[in-house]
Structure formats: structure tokens, C-alpha cells
């Protein structure tokens, strides 16, 4: 059983932002018909590749169908209208010049298909200056503030970072977009007969980033805290950070006397640790103390192995954890227990392991039922 059985979504998106939005819906069991340009979606041509096949495309398009339509061709554009006439939702992520040129601007869609939930994910929302509308994810995460403030404690001489992987702002926006589409589809189910059930949803990738830092940035907006050009403006202080250990990295987070006493015991109560007040984390957490702690701790932790020492730390009540790599995760007992990775056959890759979702649903579990489609594999859907 799937949560979205009976829902049909058409995807004309051509960036990870919109493709991920539709993937989330497809993985919930919606029928997602991906409309690809002749030659295939741009992400089919983005690496990494194996045997000529894109792993990125393979990830972003699980459980979807593929039809090829040339939306510059009148016949194919009419075929899109036929698809939309029987769909519940439409997902797009193009700039406004493109949507206008293809009669897919919000007003065009609501006029032609008043029943449709229509979502456009864009960098800055509808109405942004034209030249702001075709950026790359690195520009978007810099525009949204997370780059400037990541990692914590970065000094002014080091560059802001793009975040994990290539598409972090796209994925964050995809969550909000999928959420709004589902909310609107629920309204569509409940609307009085005879009333149009369609809505337009305008998602701003930058505003998703602002919303995710609400309890820090809003206090600045409201004047509770001064905003600044400091790279540390989102930070919270304290000694928590990553450290190199013998076979990788660990992360430690400490805020209380209990944490400190437990760590001291774990380290065998070294001489240097006695220089600290027992409650220094709460009442004497100066930069000098943080620096002193880190200097000594760096030497000690460098001799430890990440799994053994973090397991011992957890048992002692210390929030010390491994910095997991992609290779660590499939071996992690908790990930295995929850079935986060699902093995499935891919026609080119063979048996591969798909990362899935963080929500285990008792009645409608998310399943990878079909791999990303071959180009035009479901062309009959558009006839």
C-alpha cells in the first residue's frame, strides 16, 4: 500500500530541485510522468556515470515514468495538455521566460487546467529579476546565507562553502515543494463538487533556506540580536566540532558538567584536564578555554579509533559520534535495522543500494519499486 495511490503528477522540471520534489511524491506512490526533451533530461547528462548511465539521474528519478515531448512542437505541446487534463498536479522548476514561452506560466495553467495543483520551484520565487532566475546551486546557497555561515567558526579568509554535494539547496526546496503540493492535493480531494480544485504554489529556494534558520535569523530581524557581517553569526559557541582520529573523524558536542566529567573519565583523567573548572562548559566557556581544550583533546583523540571510542563515549553519556562516510552507512546497524538503504535492480548498474527516506510509515512504507526509467519508456502514456 502506498500513500499517494491514485494521484498522478506530471513533471516538466529539468533541475534537481523539481526532480527531487517529484521523486518524493513518486516514492510515496504517486504516478509521476516525467516529460523529457528529445535527447533526454539534462540530468541524464550529468555525472557520475557508469557504463554511460548517470547515477544522478538514477537517483532522482526512481519510481517515475518517462515520456519524450518536444514542448516547442505544437503537437507535442497539445499532448502535454492531454496529460495535464487527467493529472492532479504539475511540477516545474524553470525560469519565467521558459514558462511563458511554453504556455506554462501560472495564469496559463490555471486557465487551461483549473483543476490542477501547479508548483514552480525557483531560486527567488516568482517575480524575481530576470537575470536572477538562471543560477547554479552554489549561487543559491550563497544567496540564502548558509554558505556564508558554513562551516561554523570559519574565518574571513576562507571561502563560504556550497554545502554537501552539488544540490543541497535544491533538496531542501524539494521538501517544502512536495509538502505544499501534498497539502494542496488534499484540498483538491476535499473541494466541493463543481469548484475548481487547482492552486498555484510558488516556492523560493532562498526562502526555504531562510526559514530553516528561523530561530537564529528571526531574532536578528526582530532586533533581539544584532545582525552582522560575521561569519560566526549563526554559531552557538562551545567546544563542539570535528576532530581527526586514527581512522577518520569524530564529532563531539558538550554543554554540561556531566558531559565534561564523563569525558575526563573516558580519557583516564589526564593532568591537563584538571586545569578546567568542573563546570567550565556552563560558566567559563571562554575562547581561551575552548582553544586549550581542543589543543589537548586533538592529541588524545588522534590516537583513538572512531567506532570504538564513540561507542564507549555514548555509553558514558557523551555526545561523541563518528563522522560517517558513505562507506560506513550501509554497515551501520541502525540504518540496517530501519531499512534505510533498499537494494534494487537497475538495468545498467545491476543490483544497487538506494538511500531512501527518514520517515518509516507503518501503513504506507516508501519503496523503490522501479528504477529510473529509460528515455521514453512510457511513451504510450502521452498518446
Amino acid at each position: 500500500m502506498t500513500a499517494l495511490k491514485g494521484i498522478t503528477i506530471v513533471e516538466v522540471a529539468e533541475r534537481p530541485a523539481g526532480e527531487y520534489t517529484a521523486k518524493l511524491l513518486a516514492d510515496f506512490g504517486a504516478e509521476v510522468i516525467k516529460v523529457e526533451r528529445p535527447g533526454g533530461a539534462p540530468t541524464r547528462h550529468m555525472g557520475p556515470f557508469r557504463d554511460g548511465e548517470s547515477a544522478l539521474f538514477g537517483y532522482l528519478n526512481t519510481n517515475k515514468k518517462s515520456v519524450v515531448l518536444d514542448l516547442d512542437d505544437a503537437g507535442d505541446r497539445a499532448r502535454l495538455d492531454s496529460l495535464l487534463a487527467r493529472a492532479n498536479g504539475l511540477i516545474d522548476d524553470h525560469d519565467e521566460a521558459w514558462t511563458a514561452a511554453h504556455r506554462l506560466a501560472p495564469d496559463d495553467v490555471s486557465a487551461a487546467h483549473p483543476h490542477l495543483v501547479h508548483c514552480i520551484v525557483s531560486h527567488f520565487g516568482q517575480g524575481a529579476p530576470h537575470e536572477w532566475q538562471k543560477l547554479q546551486p552554489i549561487n543559491v546557497i550563497n544567496a540564502g546565507g548558509w554558505a556564508y555561515h558554513s562551516p561554523s567558526e570559519t574565518t574571513h579568509d576562507k571561502p563560504p562553502l556550497k554545502g554537501a554535494g552539488r544540490f543541497l539547496p535544491d533538496y531542501e526546496a524539494g521538501i517544502d515543494a512536495a509538502m505544499c503540493v501534498l497539502a494542496s492535493l488534499l484540498r483538491q480531494r476535499r473541494i466541493e463538487p463543481g469548484k475548481p480544485g487547482g492552486q498555484f504554489i510558488d516556492i523560493s529556494e532562498v526562502e526555504v533556506q531562510l526559514n530553516r534558520i528561523d530561530c537564529v535569523l528571526d531574532r536578528m530581524l526582530a532586533g533581539d540580536v544584532e545582525p552582522s557581517d560575521e561569519r560566526t553569526a549563526y554559531d552557538m559557541g562551545g567546544p563542539g566540532t570535528s576532530f581527526a582520529c586514527r581512522d577518520g573523524h569524530i564529532y563531539i558536542f558538550m554543554t554540561t558538567k556531566g558531559h565534561w566529567n564523563a569525558l575526563r573519565a573516558l580519557m583516564g583523567d589526564p593532568e591537563w584536564a584538571r586545569a578546567f573548572r568542573e563546570d567550565w562548559l556552563e560558566f567559563d566557556c571562554t575562547q581561551a578555554n575552548v582553544d586549550l581544550f581542543r589543543r589537548h583533546f586533538t592529541q588524545w583523540i588522534a590516537q583513538q579509533e572512531k567506532i570504538a571510542i564513540t561507542e564507549a563515549a555514548q555509553k558514558a553519556g557523551i555526545a561523541m559520534v563518528p563522522v560517517s562516510t558513505a562507506a560506513d552507512l550501509p554497515r551501520n546497524e541502525q540504518f540496517a535495522h530501519r531499512g534505510f538503504f533498499q537494494e534494487a535492480e537497475h538495468p545498467v548498474f545491476g543490483k544497487v543500494s538506494y538511500p531512501t527516506v527518514s520517515y518509516r510509515m507503518s501503513a504506507t512504507p516508501v519503496r523503490i519499486v522501479s528504477p529510473a526509467p529509460a528515455l521514453g519508456a512510457d511513451q504510450e502514456a502521452a498518446r
Partner: protein, 402 residues
């Protein structure tokens, strides 16, 4: 006494949240900002820490005000049997129950999914925990940066050649809340179609992992373990952040040959355009450190916002790296209502960070600020539960409602 509905697509859905700090309240906020009626169960003797941070008035605590707009607050002491019974009565009138309290705490209060189902057979319960609700590591608790480290995300974020420090320490909690809200609405669809509720067991660690899904899938396909890589992009070069005047930085991504040529034009760098080391994308990638250094020299004395504007006008993807003061003073964001005013009990109004969405027609209205502790006791006890005033007065006197 009735609470005005903000409208929106989730109108008519009632959510009870037993949540603290950030991830759980954030899930509630997103549902409220889509029009659901979200009731936060609170207690003066067991406060959401966000009401206490800074040691200020619990009804005017900045952290709390910045998250909990459009939320209703009801007081109940869940450490009493009577209090728990009142919570059960609220659950009987709710569609969704969200919690992010310690592993096992809901079950100990007889508020586990099996208990809730007996109260309301089609209830949707969403439990947000570090590692999910059970399993070999389910007993552990931690903090957002720990989740990010465990998730595989932190390992991918760092300056090249350095210990991966991960995203900013604040990253993670809110995203877990967003994943929870998403799953709750999916569950509403299933209930709408079949009449069946369900239990949603959310792992905050996995919420972070799901954001690096393409990197993990690529590892499964290619066998290559992805590393933290600064601002490197395997198919775009230059691709990075470059220093500007003062503390400014500019992000630039030359995704095509035209972008590269236009970048050189705007930077008045004919020599770069003609340099054989940078003649093709493959060569630029091979020599990217030298290229980044050359570009940094050309950007260092420019104003980040002005240069970004010139580059965008020339068709090159570029944007200033926005600091907190840039964000707070940005005319475009204010003009688009990315920030908006809500009611505030102390000063009349307060700016908040609005939702990332605009929905039309019949979009939700976000106008009410965060609630006073127990602001909606009357609505919940008198109207929703139908208790007589004398009974409510008695519950308050005996601190069952506290």
C-alpha cells in the same frame, strides 16, 4: 472563543504537538503555516526550553517567538493522571499527534501508537527521534550537529584538505521537522482514501542522510567514496566563492563556455581568456587551483554585490555570499514578504521569517505571533473538550492545568 482559521490547504486538520526545542515545533509550524490548527501541549512545570533561553519572560522569549507563529497553546500537566486523561481527550479530537520528546517517554505516558489507536483508530502519529523510535541505537539521544555527523552529511562539507567541519552547527533540526511535516501530510492522503491512520517513525539522522542521497547512491554505483570537496564541482569550472572588498565574497559558477568567456570579459581579463591552461573545461578543471587564485586576485578589490550584478547582466551565474546583515536588510526579501509582520503580545507586532511558499487562490494567512503559555486554554477546554467553566477552574486550582 473560537479561534479564527487562517485558511489554507490544511484547513480543518487538527494537530496536537508534544514537542520541544526546534525539530518538533518546526514541524508544527509548517503545518500551521499551511492552515492546520496546531495545538501545542505545554506546562509551566515542564516548559519548552525555547521559552526559557536567556532567562527572560517565558511569554516573550525570542527563540520561542521566532518559531511558533500560528500555534495555539494549551497548558496541561502530563505528570498527573488527570492531565494525561485530558491529553487523551484532545487526541480523540485530533488528526495528527507529533512528538519529539525522549525515546520511550510517550510510551511510558501510555501515549504510544497502540494506546493512541484505542483513543482514535484513524490517528496519525509522528514521532521524531535522533535515530527513530527503536532499534539497536534507538536509546541514544543527541544534538543536531551529531545527527549531521552520523548521517554522512558532515563528511562531505569542509575546505579541501582539512578536517570536514560540516554545515553550520545550527543545521539539521529544522530540516528534520520539515521531513516530519511532509510525511504527516502524505499520511493524511492515505487516511482520506482508506480511513486508516498510521505511525510515522522519523529518524533525524536519516533526514540529514536523505539530503546527500545522490552522493550515497553514486558510491553504491561507482564504489568511490565521496569526500568533502570545498566548492569543487566536477563539471563546472570556475565554480567557487571568491574574496571581494572588506569581508565580502562572491559565488561564481561558469557552467558553459559562454559563461567563461563572459566572466573574463567582465573581469577585463583578456589574458585569462587567452591562457592555454584555461582554454577548455577539462583544462580549467585540471588547473583549477591556479585559476581560482587568478580569479581571486581580480575580484579582491571589487564590491561583491556590484560585481555579481555585472556578471548576472552578462549572463554569468553569480551572487554575493549573503551575511546575516545582508539578509536582514535585503529589499527584495522584504518586498516579497519573505519577512512579514505578525501580532505580538508585547509590542504589537514582530517581524518573522515567513513560509517559503505562496499559494493561490485561498492561500494560508500567517498573521498570529507565537502564543502566550496557555493562551488557548479556554478554546481547548471549554469549546473543544466541552468542559464546564467550574471544572476548568478546578483543574487550574489543582494545577492539573498549569
Amino acid at each position: 472563543m473560537p479561534v479564527p482559521s487562517p485558511g489554507g490547504p490544511l484547513s480543518g486538520i487538527r494537530v496536537l504537538e508534544i514537542t520541544k526545542v526546534w525539530a518538533g515545533p518546526y514541524a508544527g509550524k509548517l503545518l500551521a503555516h499551511l492552515g492546520a490548527e496546531v495545538i501545542k501541549v505545554e506546562s509551566a512545570t515542564n516548559l519548552d526550553e525555547m521559552r526559557a533561553y536567556g532567562g527572560v519572560d517565558i511569554n516573550a522569549a525570542p527563540y520561542f517567538l521566532s518559531i511558533n507563529q500560528e500555534i495555539l497553546s494549551v497548558q496541561v500537566n502530563m505528570k498527573t493522571a488527570e492531565g494525561l486523561d485530558l491529553v487523551r481527550q484532545m487526541i480523540a479530537r485530533s488528526d495528527i499527534v507529533i512528538d519529539n520528546i525522549r525515546p520511550g517517554a510517550m510510551e511510558r505516558s501510555h501515549l504510544g501508537y497502540d494506546d493512541l489507536r484505542k483513543i482514535k483508530p484513524d490517528i496519525i502519529q509522528c514521532s521524531i527521534k535522533m535515530w527513530g523510535n527503536e532499534g539497536p541505537l534507538g536509546y541514544q539521544t543527541g544534538y543536531a550537529p551529531c545527527f549531521a555527523s552520523l548521517s554522512g552529511l558532515t563528511a562531505l562539507v569542509g575546505h579541501e584538505g582539512e578536517t570536514p567541519k560540516g554545515m553550520n552547527i545550527r543545521y539539521g533540526d529544522s530540516t528534520s521537522g520539515a521531513c516530519a511535516a511532509l510525511a504527516c501530510i502524505a499520511a493524511l492522503h492515505h487516511r482520506e482514501r482508506t480511513g486508516e491512520g498510521q505511525f510515522i517513525d522519523l529518524s533525524a539522522v536519516e533526514s540529514m542522510t536523505s539530503l546527500v542521497g545522490d552522493s550515497l547512491f553514486a558510491y553504491s554505483v561507482t564504489g568511490q567514496v565521496p569526500q568533502s570537496d570545498g566548492n569543487f564541482h566536477p563539471e563546472i569550472c570556475p565554480h567557487g566563492a571568491y574574496p571581494c572588498q572588506m569581508t565580502g565574497w562572491i559565488s561564481i559558477a561558469a557552467a558553459t563556455e559562454e559563461h567563461w568567456q563572459a566572466l573574463c570579459r567582465v573581469l577585463a581579463a583578456d589574458d585569462l581568456a587567452a591562457d592555454p591552461r584555461f582554454a577548455t573545461l577539462a583544462l580549467r578543471l585540471e588547473n583549477r587551483r591556479a585559476l581560482d587564485a587568478e580569479i581571486a586576485e581580480l575580484t579582491a578589490h571589487q564590491d561583491a554585490a556590484d560585481l555579481a550584478d555585472q556578471l548576472r547582466q552578462a549572463g554569468v551565474p553569480a551572487f554575493k555570499s549573503m551575511s546575516s546583515i545582508d539578509l536582514c536588510s535585503d529589499d527584495y526579501l522584504w518586498g516579497r514578504q519573505a519577512y512579514r509582520m505578525v501580532t505580538d503580545h508585547r509590542s504589537g507586532s514582530r517581524p518573522i521569517i515567513g513560509p517559503s511558499w505562496r499559494i493561490s487562490p485561498d492561500g494560508p494567512n500567517v498573521a498570529r505571533g507565537a502564543p502566550l503559555l496557555g493562551e488557548h486554554n479556554d478554546y481547548v477546554y471549554r469549546e473543544l473538550l466541552g468542559l464546564p467553566q467550574e471544572q476548568l477552574d478546578d483543574l487550574i486550582a489543582r494545577k492539573v492545568v498549569d
